[in-house]
């Protein structure tokens, strides 16, 4: 097949297809999961005011109490992993939005010009891309060397991690002119589209599921004030 046909395909119809699957898939899966939930759950938790000791806590005591709670939380137990996960996910989500080249493409094809006002300088983009790649490398090493992570790791985990990192690596290499530019860009676009298509139907859906389950399901560790429970 002619290379131009492939480029036209991945830059045209496939973009639309992946975006449609991404948005419709997320909407569908969210709807499906919400249907599995039961509303108006009888809240049997003890009201917070009854949990606090009757004696009013001083400012210092209150602070120590919060500190103690933090120490017991996942942040206090695994601060490094939590911190790296946080910056990894943050950079993974926002970097693509602020890449100048993406803003240029949007302006060229859709006439959306205002996005380029917010675009980052190449240095900033390189920095956040580097963070994503470095964190990804950390996760790979962690999966291989730490016994408890290795015990539950499958080849699927490495494939998902590789798919998440490929657009960043190829985007960086293409921008830096390393390797063959057209093939780098082709892999960059294809892997990005594949990732978008897979988000609603794979482990990547934890991007939505995290909020759905932690903020809407009543649980000891739930966040906010949820009022639902699973009704499988």
């Amino acid at each position: 097949m002619n290379l131009t046909i492939i480029y036209n395909l991945i830059q045209g119809p496939l973009v639309w297809l992946s975006l449609t699957v991404f948005i419709a898939g997320i909407a569908f899966q969210t709807w499906r999961l919400t249907k599995m939930m039961q509303t108006n759950v009888n809240d049997r938790r003890i009201p917070e005011k009854e949990l606090i000791a009757p004696k009013a806590l001083s400012k210092k005591e209150n602070f120590l109490r919060k500190l103690f709670f933090l120490k017991l939380s996942v942040l206090g137990v695994n601060p490094l992993v939590v911190f790296i996960s946080l910056i990894f996910h943050l950079c993974l989500l926002i970097t693509p939005i602020f890449v100048t080249a993406h803003a240029v493409l949007l302006e060229k094809f859709f006439g959306i010009g205002w996005l380029s006002w917010f675009s980052w300088s190449p240095q900033t983009t390189h920095f956040t891309t580097g963070i994503v790649l470095a964190c990804g490398f950390f996760f790979v090493v962690r999966r291989v060397i730490i016994r408890r992570v290795r015990a539950i790791t499958t080849i699927y985990d490495f494939m998902m991690l590789a798919l998440a990192l490929t657009p960043f690596l190829t985007g960086y290499l293409a921008h830096e002119g390393m390797g063959d530019y057209s093939s780098m860009i082709a892999i960059h676009i294809l892997s990005g589209e594949l990732m978008l298509i897979l988000i609603p139907f794979s482990k990547f859906f934890h991007m939505i599921f995290f909020f759905l389950s932690r903020f809407t399901i009543v649980n000891e560790y739930s966040l906010g004030a949820p009022k639902r429970s699973w009704q499988f």
Partner: protein
């Protein structure tokens, strides 16, 4: 002694329990990011010098998770290993923490139910 009472697992019974809880198991399996952040929330894991077999996610992935992936087609020996995971390695204190909010105790309870249906219980005299 147990292995003589019922040498081959009753596949249709296991499959019917799995089918009954298909959505729950599927969500658990799909959403588990294999991050292992649940490990320290298990006191048995902490008291067994970090043996992965006591990690909450390991316990559900290698019991109900494995049964679901194999569609209930497991040998008696494999089922006995799962029994050890859900009965011996877990006391169902329900204190495990999952960043994704997966209800791990519910899945381990399901594993226990499947084991009980196959005449596999906790070994109190071990």
């Amino acid at each position: 002694m147990e292995s003589n009472t019922n040498p081959t697992p009753d596949k249709p019974v296991i499959q019917s329990i799995l089918a009954e809880h298909k959505k729950q198991i599927k969500i658990g399996l799909t959403m588990c990011a294999h991050c292992s952040l649940c490990a320290e929330s298990c006191f048995l894991y902490m008291s067994h010098e970090g043996d992965p077999q006591y990690m909450p996610s390991y316990k559900f992935l290698h019991s109900v998770g494995r049964l679901y992936k194999k569609k209930g087609d497991v040998s008696r020996a494999q089922l006995e290993t799962m029994r050890d995971l859900v009965f011996e390695n877990c006391v169902l204190c329900t204190r495990c923490y999952c960043p994704m909010g997966i209800d791990i105790p519910a899945l381990i309870t399901l594993g226990r139910r499947i084991c009980r249906s196959q005449n596999l219980f906790r070994n109190y005299d071990r």
